[in-house]
Amino acid sequence: MNAQADVLVPRRSLSRILALEARCELLKMVRLPAYALPTLCFPLVFYLLFGVAMAKPSAQLDMARYLLATYGVFGVVGAALFGFGIGVAVERGQGWMLFKRATPMPPVAWMLGRLAACLVFGAVLVALLFLLGATAGKVALPAGTWLSLAGVLIVGMVPFGAFGLALGYLTGPNSAPAVVNLLYIPMAFASGLWIPLDYLPRVFQHIAPWLPTYHFGQLALGVVGMGRGEPVWQGIAALAAFTAVSLLLSWVGYRRDEGKTVG
């Protein structure tokens, strides 16, 4: 068969595979916006509603600024969980992942490609949210702070991408959306991402530190000077541990697939 192989075919390279995977993921999002659009619009609409329209000008807390950080977290966590979790669960269910496992696909390039697509989507979401914050919300921040906040929000997607991957491997194509929503919405609420933690019943202040979204939220709030004053390393350590556990669960799920496939 070698005789037919074209000499002009590019050599196998991990970076090229990564770029192609990311490109395919982004093309899927753009061509079928029905999946990505709600993930994009939900946090933006909520921000306009709670951060801009309902915020009282005289309130002690600058809601527009506070919620810019927390709805940013809420938005990118959703993008990571849905992009990874549901995408992977659906493709597993259709047998597409089984086919890909039969090829010499490097799992790391596949994972990083998917992650890159997720981060691009997150960056778009953050840009739109910032635009709303700066205009409708009249949030004024130094240029450096805008950039740091964007950086924290986008890098903070990584642990949740890993968690989404684990959910994609541990749930089925039909249960994935329900499981993701059941974890995502209550977790976001209890972490003070929708309404500041101080305004919630006291019990949430005990629950929140056990949630990864809380630590992500505190890191983002810290950038705009509205955190609860916890050391940065604490949030980073919590999220690093969360990432490690998520990757371990993904690995367990990936291995489980080998025994589960019915034929």
Partner: protein
């Protein structure tokens, strides 16, 4: 068996490229493969033929390293099928319900071929599956035949030495089926080893050098398509008779007999020579009614080959 034929002259025998050694695989309590031994040599086209649940897909998945054997082992090129060295030399067409629908044919091919160290060019892969005209179409816009050919293109785009095709033409109409056969033959002519599974004796006959009949996770028979066809040439006879089942089963030329729908219902039998059997039936039972004779389909042929049902039904 072809592999046996080679044994006397090992110097000229092409190497074994895919092998199952006493492979056993269960799903819960169901035994999908029961100590299966199977070897495929370079350049061969082997068809594994069998009814649903025979273990065909399990055999393919084991050889591709997608599942683990509970006993025995699977080897590709003498290697672990999960190794990169093995995977980069095989292509697979699996039974997939859906492929991402919002990607174009050429985008799918570009991505999958990027995994392989020495892939075909995009144009060569499109041509190998006759998809040149629809390269810019989304998967979701393709016809059933074109979808199946895209899966074939994805199997061959890595320029593999061995091609695994799990029921490649299932659900296709006659024309689409023949079209895909031609593309499979082309690969085989180019030197690719092909391991395919199928329900259809006709498909095995059209493509394979060697046919392996599989049922209940074991090999029932193995040979050239001609040899296999000769063994399943039997006829199915159905009738309403007052004769006891044991007597019917003992008639000349009968391989197997059973009640079609439980005791007391019509009797179904499988015979090599329908004429002699029918003559004997009519002579013994003048009241015989609803006589029907037709060619046995594959599943019935299996029954005739194994005859397992006879003993069970007679004992009951």
């Amino acid at each position: 068996m072809k592999s046996e034929r080679y044994e006397g002259r090992p110097r000229t025998a092409p190497p074994v490229v895919a092998q199952l050694r006493r492979a056993t695989r269960r799903y819960g309590k169901v035994l999908a493969l029961d100590g299966l031994d199977l070897s495929v040599r370079a350049g061969e086209v082997v068809a594994v033929l069998g009814p649903n649940g025979a273990g065909k897909t399990t055999a393919v998945h084991l050889l591709l390293g997608l599942i683990r054997a509970h006993a025995g082992e699977a080897r590709l090129f003498g290697l672990d099928p999960r190794s990169f060295a093995a995977r980069s030399r095989v292509g697979a067409m699996l039974q997939i319900s859906k492929v991402p629908e919002t990607l174009k044919v050429r985008e799918h091919i570009d991505l999958i071929s990027s995994y392989y160290p020495r892939p075909l060019s995009r144009d060569a892969a499109l041509e190998a599956a006759g998809l040149g005209a629809v390269a810019d179409r989304l998967f979701g816009q393709l016809s059933g035949g074109q979808r199946q050919r895209l899966l074939f293109a994805l199997a061959v785009c890595g320029n593999p030495d061995v091609l695994f095709l799990d029921e490649p033409t299932v659900g296709l109409d006659v024309e689409a089926r023949r079209g895909l056969w031609e593309h499979i033959r082309e690969r085989a002519r180019a030197g690719c080893t092909v391991f395919l599974t199928t329900h259809y004796l006709e498909e095995a006959d059209a493509l394979a050098h060697r046919v392996v009949l599989l049922a209940g996770g074991r090999i029932l028979a193995e040979g050239t398509p001609g040899e296999i066809k000769a063994r399943v040439r039997g006829r199915r006879i159905r009738c309403r008779t007052s004769l006891p089942l044991a007597e019917v089963a003992a008639l000349p030329g009968v391989r197997a007999a059973r009640f079609a729908d439980g005791p007391g219902s019509e009797v179904e039998l499988f015979a090599d020579e329908a004429e002699a059997t029918v003559r004997a039936l009519l002579a013994r039972d003048p009241g015989l009614a609803d006589l029907e004779v037709r060619g046995a389909d594959l599943e019935e042929a299996f029954l005739a080959l194994t005859g397992v049902d006879v003993a069970e039904e007679v004992a009951a």
